[in-house]
C-alpha cells in the first residue's frame, strides 16, 4: 500500500506517494531527479550515498524514504547558496580532493558535518571522521588536505 510522505529536500517541501520499500537514495535520484547523490555499493559500506537527514549524515541507501517523512534532507545540490559553492566544495576544488569524483558528493556531505561538529580537527580526527566514505582513486591524501584547508579558511 503506497504511503504519502512530506519531505523537505534542499529547502523545498513536497508531498509524494511512494512504495514503502523505496530507499531514500532512490527517492532523491528518481523522484527528485537529484543525481548528485551516488549509489556505490548499495550495501551500507561506501558512503557515496551520504546525505544529511535532519542535519545528520546518513547513508541514504540504508533508510527507506518513508522514514524521512516530516524531515529535512540536504543533498550535495543543496550546499551552494546564491550561486556560491560551500567552503568545503571550494576546498575540494582548490586542493584537488578528487579524481573520478564518484565518492565526492558523499565525502563532502560527511566533511561538512565533521567541520560543524569539530571546526578545527586534527589529521587523525579527519581520517576517523571520514572512515565511512571509501575512495578508490585519491588515496585520501588530498581529501584530508581539502578538509584541513576548509577548516583553515573558515577561521
Amino acid at each position: 500500500m503506497p504511503t504519502t510522505i512530506n519531505v523537505t529536500v534542499n529547502g523545498t517541501t513536497r508531498t509524494d506517494t511512494v512504495d514503502e520499500r523505496l530507499l531514500l537514495v532512490q527517492y532523491l535520484r528518481e523522484v527528485h531527479s537529484l543525481t548528485g547523490t551516488h549509489i556505490g555499493c548499495d550495501t551500507s559500506s561506501c558512503g557515496a550515498c551520504t546525505v544529511h537527514l535532519d542535519g545528520k549524515s546518513v547513508k541514504s541507501c540504508t533508510v527507506f524514504a518513508v522514514q524521512a517523512d516530516g524531515s529535512e534532507v540536504t543533498t550535495v545540490e543543496g550546499l551552494a547558496s546564491n550561486g556560491t559553492v560551500h567552503p568545503v566544495q571550494a576546498a575540494f576544488k582548490e586542493k584537488h580532493g578528487l579524481q573520478c569524483g564518484f565518492c565526492t558528493p558523499g565525502m563532502i556531505m560527511t566533511s561538512v558535518e565533521l567541520l560543524e561538529r569539530n571546526p578545527d580537527p586534527s589529521e587523525e580526527e579527519i581520517r576517523s571522521g571520514i572512515r565511512g566514505n571509501l575512495c578508490r582513486c585519491t588515496g585520501y591524501h588530498n581529501i584530508v588536505q581539502a578538509v584541513k584547508f576548509a577548516a583553515m579558511e573558515s577561521k
Partner: protein, 293 residues
C-alpha cells in the same frame, strides 16, 4: 524503473509502546520493530529478512533520552551511538559505554544506530552487548500490559536471539553507578572495513585496600554466537592483587564459557579468534586496572 531490493511491507509508526506491542501481536510474528535500521534494513535489502510490516519506533517519546538518576543512568532504547558518545552524563557516569559507542562503525552509522537496536539484535560481533554485560545493566521492557526487568546476563540467549518475547519492546537500559576505585575499558580487534568486532573485551575492575581486586566484570563479544560474561576469568581476578601473571592467567580463561565454540568465518578462523581473545582480554583487563586508581 527503480529496482526494489526489499520485499514489500506495510509501514506503521506507533506513538506509544503499548501501540507498538499491539502491532507486533497484530502481525503475529511477521512484524519487525525498526529502530535505527542499520542492521535490519541491510538484511531486508538482501531479503534475509522479509517482514510483512515495519513498526517504526522513532515516533515514541518514551524510548528517547538519557536520564541521570540517583542509582545511575537510564538510557532510552532509541538513543543513538552518537548521543551516547557525546553525552556528558554518559562520559562521566559510564565512560565505558561512551568509549565503546565511539568505536562503532563510522559517523553515519553512529548517527542512526541505537543502543536498543544493538542489544535487541544480539549480533555476535556487536560492540555494546559486552558493555551492558560488564556494567550489570538491566533491560527494561514494555508491552501492551506490563513490562519486565531483565538483567543483562540473562538477556543474550543465542546468535541473534535475546530473552525478548515476541510482543515485547525494549524501552530502556538502566546502568547502575559504579563503585569507587573502579576502572573500565573496552578493547576490540576491529574488522578493517566495517569495524565490527572480530573479538572485543569489556572489563570493569574495582580495587580495594592494598590493590586487591574486589570485584571484576569481564565480557566477550565477536568470538562466539553471542556476547558472554567471562565468569571463570572474573573468579580468578577477584580477591587477588592484579599482577601481570594473574591477569594473564585470567585472560586465558576468558573464552572458557564458549566451550570451544569460537566463530569461524571469512574474516578469521576459530583458532585465530581464540588466540586473539586472550590477547585482547589481557589488554582490556590491564587498561581497566590502570584507570581504577
Amino acid at each position: 524503473m527503480v529496482t526494489m531490493t526489499s520485499a514489500p511491507f506495510e509501514y506503521e509508526k506507533p506513538e506509544s509502546v503499548a501501540e507498538a506491542s499491539r502491532l507486533l501481536s497484530k502481525y503475529g510474528g511477521n512484524g519487525k520493530l525498526l529502530a535505527g535500521g542499520h542492521s535490519l534494513v541491510p538484511l531486508m535489502k538482501l531479503r534475509l529478512a522479509s517482514p510483512d510490516a515495519l513498526i517504526d519506533l522513532s515516533g515514541i517519546n518514551d524510548l528517547k533520552g538519557i536520564k541521570s538518576t540517583a542509582n545511575g543512568l537510564s538510557i532510552g532504547s532509541m538513543t543513538t551511538y552518537h548521543e551516547l558518545e557525546s553525552s556528558s552524563d554518559v562520559q562521566s557516569g559510564a565512560p565505558l559505554l561512551a568509549d565503546a559507542a565511539s568505536q562503532v562503525a563510522d559517523t553515519q552509522v553512529r548517527n542512526f544506530g541505537t543502543i536498543g537496536g544493538a542489544v535487541s539484535h544480539s549480533d555476535p560481533a556487536s560492540d555494546l552487548p559486552p558493555v551492558v554485560l560488564a556494567l550489570d545493566a538491566t533491560m527494561v521492557t514494555g508491552s501492551q500490559r506490563s513490562g519486565r526487568e531483565i538483567p543483562a546476563d540473562r538477556f543474550f540467549k543465542d546468535f541473534l536471539t535475546t530473552a525478548l518475547r515476541p510482543n515485547e519492546v525494549l524501552v530502556r537500559i538502566d546502568i547502575p553507578k559504579l563503585p569507587a576505585n573502579t576502572g573500565t575499558a573496552y578493547v576490540k580487534m576491529a574488522n578493517k572495513a566495517s569495524h565490527y568486532a572480530l573479538v572485543g573485551v569489556a572489563a570493569v575492575i574495582t580495587l580495594g585496600a592494598g590493590g586487591v581486586c574486589e570485584r571484576a566484570r569481564v565480557a566477550l563479544t565477536g568470538a562466539g554466537p553471542h556476547a558472554v560474561r567471562a565468569r571463570r576469568a572474573e573468579r580468578i581476578l577477584e580477591g587477588k592483587v592484579l599482577a601481570g601473571n594473574v591477569i594473564r592467567n585470567a585472560s586465558k580463561r576468558v573464552g572458557a564459557e564458549l566451550d570451544g565454540m569460537f566463530n569461524e568465518d571469512v574474516h578469521a578462523s576459530a583458532e585465530y579468534r581464540e588466540a586473539m581473545t586472550q590477547v585482547y582480554a589481557e589488554r582490556a583487563i590491564t587498561a581497566a586496572v590502570a584507570n581504577a586508581g
